[in-house]
Symmetry: C2
Subunit: 139 residues, 2 copies
DNA sequence: TTGTAATTGATTCTCAGTCGCAATTGTAAC
DNA sequence: GTTACAATTGCGACTGAGAATCAATTACAA
């Protein structure tokens, strides 16, 4: 379970499993879909938690390093994340006009990327593919 | 030529071709490879031009809209751009450890993306694929 | 040449994300 | 359970890319 993964990751690095980190983890895994750190902060606030913005920003990189979280897109200025446990990786098409985001998954794409990495002597960990253009309604 | 493309783009939008915009355009097309707006500013400074940072930030979106410039990657906080006139599109592998950027092009990837857009009723204009991982030296 | 809307540089402002620090807390060793 | 200490916390100040403001200037159509 994701709890165990995080716990073991922290232990291996000599870091502590604090109440705050547990709460952040729990919150992130309580829903599916994108979020940005600011949103997460508000979400936690509403549930009575008083975890600081700084702790959230400090925890996010740990979750990424442990493989539980992925940066998905950068909208405007801020980064968006999504938990990856029990999820298929997917990529995004973003409409220039209305901002709509279409998620898609392509096994062919995944395999092509593996092949490309091999060709270039690269060990790929994660990737993001963003296609920008016009959606069905705005084309 | 890129000059003409930009000129016509501006005309069509009722915008003016100023000395500053010409200088920025010229500078961007005077070299190949990535740059960020700050770098471009310094570059222009060194050549005796006193174009303001603000004008650069204002011109970049115009160049993107006219199809002459593309955002390639976001390193840390700032965006990097690259001119696209007379270039093949390429994508990037970024090393998590040393920050090295490997450029690659795959015709297969281009075609797969076209197919994906079609499947999802999307009219694709541009795309970025970033593969993060470990390069040959850091793996 | 003129009228006018677009553009400029300088400056200020914004806001996501980071940093420093004193107080607190998790955890391993006893 | 205590102890000891390094890791972590929240707070508030800081940073830096990029946007907004505005008076002065400029491109360009008529």
């Amino acid at each position: 379970m994701y709890n165990t993964i995080f716990k073991e990751f922290l232990q291996k690095k000599g870091l502590k499993l604090t109440r705050e980190r547990e709460a952040i983890l729990k919150e992130i895994f309580s829903f599916h879909g994108h979020f940005d750190p600011e949103e997460l902060h508000i979400r936690l606030r509403k549930k009575g938690s008083s975890i600081s913005k700084a702790s959230i920003y400090r925890t996010v990189p740990l979750l990424i390093e442990s493989g539980l979280l992925e940066e998905v897109i950068k909208v405007d200025k801020h980064a968006h994340y999504e938990h990856t446990y029990g999820h298929n990786h997917h990529d995004h098409m973003i409409c220039i006009t209305c901002g709509r985001v279409v998620e898609f998954h392509s096994q062919e794409l995944e395999e092509l990327q593996k092949r490309l990495c091999k060709d270039y002597g690269f060990r790929g960990i994660s990737h993001t593919l963003e296609i920008r253009g016009y959606c069905r309604k705005c084309r």
